[in-house]
């Protein structure tokens, strides 16, 4: 007996919808097995990981705060990935956006104006876009692999931030802690709702998702992204330039990652620290794929992945396991999403004919 993958004549519509759900279910099953191996009751552990964080209003706000950068970055990455540009460095663009946006509240901290916040957001986008322009330039003009360059630049951004907050940008009144000044009132992204901490970053994320959904579905630009992602040659035939698309998609996703960075810093942390992201830029890659690179799916996927962050925190407290569990769940999820996607193009067949063939051989 052997298992064969057989190519479907047409892409399965059923499995392209089901695949993320199957992946999520498998993640839960294997997560349960992992908890059991750790000596915890799987049902109780899974409950405190996935359900408890949803049971209170304040924790729902935390969910939205965590989901906002994931969705914002994921939406930008979906444009990149659909156009066959593999920006893996959103984490670095997130950090550079946060740094660029923080110039005003950290360096020009005594300037008070309602213009500060909008300018910070714009600077954040520019910072992220400029940092994404490096791999874009290298790919468009030197044919360099953007996966490697964008990934390596993440570490550059992380170390640059670390140097800034320990060096030139350290808070002079901060007892030598590696932190910048806390932002002034004008530099803080306000809360969206009266019920809790959710800031406007979540609204940015939803708006960005809706706009990109509209672009991909209805406009020639969206069509260009799809075509160039499927076949560069067909795109050239259509008069589209893959080089310009490298620039567009990288700058666009960089700008959204930068916006996510400055929103996170301005809305949730309100100062710069050596570490401002629990890996949002990388987790957003999972979000983009779990959401099928569809902006509306990415909203849902962003909420699911945000839950794994909250679950990790909860798991530390209530069941006493390391918050590395979060990483394990995210890894499992990405693994299963990618493998379940096989079902969209292939069907699985269990073949027993080999046995029969052997029998006829013996007959000779």
């Amino acid at each position: 007996m052997r298992i064969e993958l057989e190519k479907r004549p047409n892409v399965s519509a059923l499995f392209s919808i089901l695949s993320p759900f199957i992946a999520f279910a498998l993640t839960i099953v294997f997560g349960g097995i992992m908890f059991a191996l750790l000596g915890k009751n799987p049902a109780a552990a899974l409950y405190s990981f996935f359900v408890e964080p949803l049971s209170e209003v304040w924790s729902l706000h935390e969910l939205a705060i965590k989901a906002a950068p994931l969705i914002l970055i994921g939406v930008g990455l979906s444009v990149c990935f659909r156009s066959n540009n593999w920006n893996i460095g959103a984490e670095g663009q997130f950090i550079m956006g946060a740094i660029a946006g923080s110039i005003l509240p950290v360096v020009f901290y005594d300037w008070q104006s309602p213009l500060v916040l909008p300018l910070m957001l714009v600077l954040g986008m520019i910072g992220g876009a400029i940092f994404a322009a490096i791999p874009a330039f290298l790919k468009a003009h030197m044919n360099t692999n953007e996966i490697l360059t964008s990934l390596m630049l993440v570490y550059v951004a992380q170390l640059f931030l670390d140097w800034l907050v320990r060096g030139p940008w350290r808070n002079p009144q901060g007892m030598n802690f590696p932190e910048t000044r806390t932002f002034g009132a004008d530099a803080i992204l306000p809360e969206m709702l009266v019920s809790g901490r959710t800031h406007w970053g979540f609204a940015f994320a939803i708006i960005a998702a809706l706009l990109v959904w509209f672009m991909m579905r209805y406009t020639l630009r969206g069509f260009e992204i799809t075509v160039l992602g499927q076949s560069e040659r067909a795109g050239r035939f259509a008069g589209f330039s893959s080089r310009r698309m490298i620039w567009f998609s990288m700058l666009f996703s960089g700008a959204l990652a930068g916006l996510a960075g400055i929103s996170e810093v301005s809305g949730a942390i309100q100062q710069l620290r050596p570490v401002i992201s629990p890996g949002y830029g990388f987790t957003a890659i999972i979000v983009a794929f779990l959401g099928r690179l569809n902006p509306l799916g990415i909203i849902a996927a962003g909420l699911v992945l945000a839950l794994t962050y909250l679950g990790g925190e909860a798991a530390q407290l209530s069941i006493g396991v390391s918050d590395k569990v979060t990483r394990v769940f995210q890894g499992l999820l990405l693994f299963f999403v990618l493998s379940c996607d096989t079902l969209i193009h292939y069907r699985i067949r269990v073949v027993r004919e080999r046995f029969a063939a052997l029998k006829t051989d013996e007959a000779h």
């Binding site: 047409n10 209805y218 406009t219 499927q230 040659r233 035939f237 008069g239 051989d361």
Partner: protein, 524 residues
């Protein structure tokens, strides 16, 4: 098995009810076929009829789903090309599997037993190439050889195994008429030695000239077994296609109109190591004419198409002119806006995106030329699905595109139907200039005839049509004038009715003829 010799009086190879399923699709459906010793047996059929699948099963590349293969009367299971070679089956594939950086002898040695020394392989190859009239220098590097010479390597490689049956898959599709003639002599020599040849082709003329018997496939089934010499081309075509195919002629086209498309001393350096550079190409296509460019594949046809279409603009603005305006540096959409239309050779991933719907594939080619009709919403450039779908329906109706559903993905259409849509997509605009590369490559005869007629009709209506094709039958059906491309150089155009196949063959050979002469001198 001592009985082998006695069974030589029966068929060498017999196939009964051989079936290959891909999913639910039967590529070969209960095929019956037998090949006698010492005969040249033709396997005829259109693209997609199941010929290649059948021979892949015979050569152990694919495993049959059902049915039997009898070799000299014994039921055999051929699970690998190695098995097939051991039995005595040799194969020359349509697409060669040679390492360009290695010499002829090294390439041959790769498929042989490791214990045989390179010198012996070279010696043996040289001997065989002499005996069978296949001039070949064992020490030449494959990269330096013409396509015809590369094919000889494959044939010599197959002959070294001393096979009883040699399978050739569309061997003449890459050869000039003269090279093909030489191949036929070799095949007749093999036959005289009592070896059998299974000759796969869709070219009726060759089959009638060469083959003793023919088996015709259509849609995976045997539709006829006959003596091709007793049949007419029309009756053979009927077995292949299933019905009579309309005859196309270039009648009514003329070269009296104004020049609409011109290339003027167009030279383009090769973009990649595998590309051909264009050398001083000049051509003129007038309103009302079809200029056909003949040539063996890989002599600069795609490079010429790229330069004329503007997918890769050239440095000299005057090198390409559309309607007497220089466009050399302009991109493809600028050229479309001046009234030109383009149909590239490769359907999937160039002329069309397989996963996108037909209407999306319409937007692909006409997003700028028809922006007033297809795009709305100002700078947002929203695609007007209604208008696009209506146009896609109109094209499908005009070209008789058979499809499942209203707006299916391009990849779900058969080659012929997709090509009809791709050509129709341009015809629908009534372009003043149309450039088509391999208009009916891999297309069934019915669709091919329809496409060719549409090209002739477009010229008759006053457009300038440039057809780049490897298919001489096609060229004679559509061309007012014919030029030949060889190694990136284009010959002068000749009126089609003054040209014979032999003359075209000589022009195609161009430089090839000379290098082959030199190669032959080496070998002897």
């Amino acid at each position: 098995m001592p009985v082998k010799g006695q069974i030589a009086s029966g068929p060498l190879l017999a196939v009964s009810n051989l079936t290959k399923l891909f999913g639910s699709f039967a590529a070969c459906d209960a095929i019956n076929l037998h090949i006698e010793p010492g005969e040249i047996h033709a396997l005829l059929g259109e693209n997609g009829a199941g010929k290649s699948t059948l021979v892949k099963m015979l050569f152990g590349v694919l495993a049959p789903t059902a049915g039997e293969i009898l070799w000299m009367g014994d039921n055999v299971r051929i699970t690998s090309p190695g098995d097939a070679r051991k039995l005595g089956i040799g194969m020359v594939f349509q697409h060669f599997s040679l390492f360009e950086a290695l010499t002829v002898a090294e390439n041959i040695a790769l498929s042989m037993d490791r214990s045989i020394s390179l010198a012996r392989v070279a010696e043996e190859a040289a001997r065989l190439s002499r005996v069978y009239g296949l001039p070949l220098d064992p020490n030449a590097h494959v990269a330096d050889l013409s396509v015809g010479e590369r094919q000889r390597i494959e044939i010599v490689r197959a002959l070294l195994q001393n096979p009883q049956l040699i399978i050739l898959d569309e061997p003449t599709s890459v050869l000039t008429p003269q090279e093909a003639d030489r191949l036929f002599e070799t095949l007749l020599k093999l036959k005289a030695e009592g070896r059998s040849v299974l000759y796969i082709s869709h070219r009726l003329e060759e089959v009638q000239r060469l083959c003793d018997r023919a088996t015709v496939l259509r849609h995976g089934k045997v539709t006829g077994a006959c003596d091709p010499r007793a049949e007419t081309p029309a009756s053979l075509a009927r077995m292949m296609v299933g019905n009579d195919v309309a005859v196309v002629t270039p009648e009514g086209t003329s070269t009296t109109g104004d020049v609409q498309l011109e290339a003027c001393h167009l030279s383009v350096a090769a973009r990649t190591p595998f590309a051909v550079s264009l050398k001083d190409v000049s051509l003129k296509v007038r309103a009302g004419e079809v200029l056909a460019i003949a040539g063996v594949a890989g002599n600069g046809q795609s490079e010429l198409f790229d330069a004329l279409s503007g997918e890769y603009p050239v440095a000299d603005d005057n090198a390409v002119q559309i309607r007497q305006k220089p466009v050399g540096t302009k991109n493809i959409n600028a050229r479309r806006l001046m009234g030109a239309g383009f149909v590239p050779e490769e359907r999937h991933g160039h002329a069309a995106v397989s996963s996108l719907s037909l209407s999306d594939n319409l937007v692909l080619a006409r997003n700028q030329s028809d922006r007033r009709a297809f795009l709305g919403g100002g700078f947002l450039k929203i695609i007007r699905q209604g208008a696009v779908k209506a146009a896609a329906r109109r094209i499908s109706a005009a070209m008789d595109v058979r499809k499942s559903g209203e707006d299916p993905p391009a990849g779900s259409l058969s080659g012929g139907n997709l090509q009809k849509f791709i050509v129709g997509r341009e015809l629908d605009r009534q372009p003043a200039v149309l450039v088509v590369n391999q208009p009916t490559w891999g297309v069934d005869a019915g669709a091919a005839s329809r496409i060719r007629q549409a090209l002739v009709d477009l010229a008759k209506a006053g457009s300038a049509v440039l057809v780049i094709s490897q298919d001489l039958d096609e060229i004679f059906e559509v061309a007012t004038e014919i030029a030949v491309i060889s190694e990136g150089r284009l010959s002068d155009p000749y009126p089609a009715r003054e040209l014979s196949r032999e003359k075209i063959g000589l022009l195609m050979g161009g430089m090839h003829g000379k290098t082959e002469g030199a190669g032959a001198a080496h070998a002897h």
